[in-house]
Structures are given as C-alpha cells and as structure tokens.
Subunit: 334 residues, 2 copies
C-alpha cells in the first residue's frame, strides 16, 4: 500500500476553481483549474470539483490512495466542525455537506474552511507573516475579506468565519453597505466601491485616462486600470485610492485595540497593483488612530503568495488539521 | 515534605489589594485585604503584597511550602511572558518585575496577568461563562475594562492585555477621551462618564434625588446612588444610563463582527446595581447593529462572582499556567 503523504489544496471561487497537488514538503506536483459555473447548482458543482482534483492528481502522477488529506477553501460562512458550507454568496448552493461529499469521492480526510481564512493561513505558513502569534489578513475585492490566524490556528468565533473586517463602521452615516448598515469599510474601500467612485469621476471628465481605456462602466475598471491611470496622471484616481487606504487604516486601528495583531497582511488584486501606496497609507492611517502604546506593535505588509495563498493555505490547513504533530516539527525546524 | 496543592490568588487594585488562599478544588481557605497605598512606591507596594499573602496564609493555616502557585492580577499592561507589570495607571510604579519578586518571597511559581483578564477568566472557570469557546468581558468603571478568554486561554495580542474595548469609537467627534481620541466608548459610557452627566443634570435641577443625596460632586455619585435615583423617579438618570448601555451595545456589535464571542459578561459596580437595565439594553443595541447572520450568535449576561472574579480567576490562571493537565481533567469532568 502506498504511503499517504500527498496534500491536495482546493480554492473554490465564485468564477473559477483551482486545485493543486503537493508533496509532504509542499512542493507543487500538479495543478488544474476550471470555471466554477455556480449557477448549475451544488451537485454539478461538486462533480466539477472532484473532476478538477482528479485532473490535478493525474498531472501530478499521484493516485488517490496516496492522499493524506484534502483542504478546501470556500467563500462565505462555514461550519468548520461539520465541514458544511452555509449558503455561500455568489453561488446560491444553500447548505452543502462538502466534507462528506469529498471524503466519499476520495476516501481520505477533508478539511473545509473559509477561503480568506486559508489564504491568511497560507501567508502565515509560507508567505508574508511566518512565525508570529497574531496575523490579520485584509483582502479588498467585491467586498473586503478578513481572516485571522492566532497561535497557529484559524481564529474561530461563535459563527465561523468571524473576522468581518468589511463591516467595521468607518464613515458615520456613510454610503449604504450590502449588509444593510451605513458607512461600513467595504462600502467605502472595497475594489467595487473604489471602481464606482472612479467611474463617477470618469463620467465627470476628471479621470481622462480611465475614460479612454475603460469608459464609465465600473466592471471594466480593473486594478491594473487604476494603477495605470495614476501613472498617467489621473490625480483624482490617486486621491480615491489613498482615501480607501486611509479608511482601511481606520478600521485596522479598531482591530489593533481589540486583538493587537503582530502583522497585518494586505492582499488581493488592488493591493498587488499598488502595493506601496496601500502599505504606506494603511500603516500611517492606523498609526495615527491607535493609542500611543500600540503605535509600534504592528507591521503592515503586502501578501507574498498571490493566487497561491488560498490553495496552498487550504492544503496546509488540512495537514495542520490531520497531522498536527508533523506541523509542529515543521515549525520548530523552520 | 508537604504536598504543593494550594493556589493563592491576588487582586491588586488602585485603592485596595485582596488575597485569597484556595485548596486544589478552589474552596476558599482564607482571605486578607489591605489598602494599596500606591503612592508609597513599588518597593513598599510589594512588601504590602507579600504581607497580605502571608496574613491570608496564616488565616488559612497553610505553610508557604504548600503553595503550588500564586496568581496575581494587576492593572494596566503586563508582559505575561516575563511577569513584569508595565507602568500601571493609578499606581505610578513604572516597570516592576512582579513575578521575580514574588517567586523570591514565596519560593513557588507566580503568574502575572491583567486584572480584567483574570476577572473574565474567573467568570469563564467558575461563573457566568463556563464551557464556551469565546468569552468577552466588559467592566465599566473609571474607564471600561475589557478582556477575552478564547479556547480556555487569555487572548493575547502583540501587546498584552489587548482587548481595549474602552477605546472603540462610538460617537463621531464625541467627548475627549483620556487616550487623546474623541468619542471612545469609555468617554461616554464608563461609570465616570455617567456620573459626570448625572452631576450636570443634578446641577440643572433635573435629578432631584441625586442632588439631595450626593449634590453635584461626581465623586459622590456611586452606582447605588444611580440605582436609587431611578427608583425614586429621576427620569434623566435612567435616560443617561440607558444611553450608556446603548453605546456599550454599539461597541459590542463591532466586537461581534471581529471575534464573534459566544458570551458577553458585563460586570462591575454599575452593572451589579442595575443588571436588568444593562443586560437588556446592551443586548438589544448590539443585536440591532450586527448583520442578520450574527443576531442570534451571542448572549449578554451579568457577571456572577462579583469582587471574587479577579482573585479567584488569578488563582485559577496560576493553576492553568503551571498545571495545565489537571485543568484539562477538571474541564473534562465538569
């Protein structure tokens, strides 16, 4: 019988899914991606997930019987104890017993966690935040994802995942948020909120570069569009992005007063396109808003792993979950 | 040689100090209290601490050689790893190597932690919040103390103790806080803030009961004064207290979005004097401000242990620190 020493990571996104196969030292052996096609429902979705994993295994030349565990990161709230995804946004699948379905398909242990949480765990294990007690991850996208690793584990609340940094209020009576409140961080600083502000400026003729390459359709305004517009001299775009970063810093100050993270990792496309602007502005905004005693207690850094954070973090979380001892050795040795 | 199975708790306050001696099952064997007299300096302070412990041991008929560990809760930030108190407010002692000094005096292990943290730990082990994953404690006094027990341990940040719930902003451009910011929770909802508002109302003749028993000196307006004034019909006092509780609920909503506690314990004199008003108002305020998915994930309860929480929690934290295994058995058995 083959030794079970292969870890499989899976990142389930709203538009695409990605699986990677790793050896015991987390060297990548194979990789496969597909479109998610969430609208086809949960049963088709799970078939597509298992097909993607099988294809990645084939590329890696690995048998299912060699898998020590599969880790999957999924959007939205998760019941981590039961391995059930709870009505993920953008998928509309309702409750899905993900662990049970995948364990049946591959006859190996499966861990299910929130996609942002495993992304932050990836950065903690292999990326920008190794070896510290408390890591906060902040990932601006359509919303603003947050996750926290504390003492080597995903921080869990009564409801997992719990770090709803996108819903910290930062602008009193500010714009409506998708959650029904006003002035939440994600209503003023997500990629979506930023794009909407920039589109408005483009419409008013204040952002000629954006208008030329993307018009006023906010879905056409990508992170790279924004970075290029700043380089091309669209001053208002820079102002909008600095304001967004300042708001993230305001929210971060509140988090520092509550859980006092050692390292704050900023990630996602918006950050990757303009890392210096964000790291600097978030840091100075947060520093100016925390009590003096906390001013030098945290660092703000750019994520290192890009799209790999989620899939690698999911695989490593499976290892942590099913193989705690070897993780301990790994950490001691690193 | 006597078996070391006695745990000693110590609560170091700004005005008084309290020591209690417990057997292995945390039954109280003896107790002693003294005035702190912090102005006499750290050296005199530590002598007073050791005298108080010795007196409590004598009352309990216990030898120092029987002590398994001493736990001490101290105000302000603590370096828990080193057992050093860092310039506690109201004492002005600067940095004091508390663990080293007490270990020398009693020749046994000593754990040093923040007074609010050990108070919340006491409620987690023996009081209002047993057996849950995440407990948040909120104790309004001169400021508003906060502490968190997570997975059976005091939650630690880069700077201990980290749960600065008193400095969550709740009123934009609100009153100045002692920390230099504006509109922090403790600037509008501490016992001190409440007393100041009530004194102002008394001066204006709006709170006749308060004016009669306490005049307009806010240091004379005690929690019991407030509770009695409400019973006597001082409507404005009730309004001021409900507003304070509403603000605590606002801050709590932010905490729910970040760490999603299972149980929130409200404690301290203000709460003890008016538990129903506070529990109800804090709960409804927080519920109305959290996202729908979190509305039924937390409970707000009144602390059960009163003044004992700190001293008992400190002793139990010493047991947890130096005797982890037996705590585990205790928990499994409870």
């Amino acid at each position: 019988m083959a030794e079970r020493n292969i870890w499989v990571g899976f990142d389930l996104g709203g538009t695409k899914m990605l699986s990677k196969v790793y050896d015991a030292k987390f060297q990548e052996l194979g990789s496969e991606r597909k479109k998610t096609k969430g609208h086809l429902g949960a049963d088709v979705g799970i078939d597509r997930i298992t097909d993607t994993i099988r294809a990645a295994l084939e590329i890696a030349k690995v048998e299912a019987s060699q898998i020590a565990g599969i880790g999957i990161g999924c959007p939205g709230p998760i019941d981590m104890e039961k391995g059930v995804i709870l009505d993920p946004p953008n998928l509309g699948w309702g409750e899905v017993p993900m662990r049970k379905r995948l364990e049946k398909a591959f006859d190996c242990p499966v861990s299910v966690a929130n996609d942002v949480d495993v992304g932050v765990y990836g950065e903690y294990r292999f990326g920008a935040a190794q070896g510290v007690r408390t890591v906060l991850g902040v990932f601006p996208g359509t919303g603003i994802g947050g996750g926290c690793i504390y003492d080597g584990n995903i921080l869990r609340g009564a409801r997992c995942s719990c770090v709803e940094i996108g819903h910290i209020p930062v602008v009193p009576d500010g714009p409506l948020c998708g959650c029904g409140q006003r002035g939440c961080l994600e209503a003023v600083a997500s990629r979506l909120a930023v794009s909407a502000s920039v589109a408005k400026s483009a419409y008013r003729g204040e952002a000629p570069h954006v208008q030329k390459v993307a018009g006023t359709d906010l879905s056409q305004i990508r992170s790279s569009t924004l970075a290029n517009a700043i380089k091309a001299g669209d001053k208002v775009v820079e102002k909008i992005l600095r304001d967004a970063a300042t708001h993230i810093g305001t929210a971060l100050a509140g988090v520092v007063h509550l859980i006092s993270p050692d390292v704050v990792v900023l990630g996602g496309g918006l950050i990757e396109a303009m890392p210096d602007l964000f790291v600097k502005e978030v840091m100075s905004s947060a520093r100016s808003r925390v009590m003096a005693a906390y001013r030098d207690t945290f660092k703000v850094v750019e994520a290192k792993l890009g799209d790999d954070a989620g899939v690698l973090g999911a695989a490593a979380w499976a290892e942590k979950t099913f193989n705690g001892e070897s993780v301990k050795n790994h950490k001691d040795g690193s």
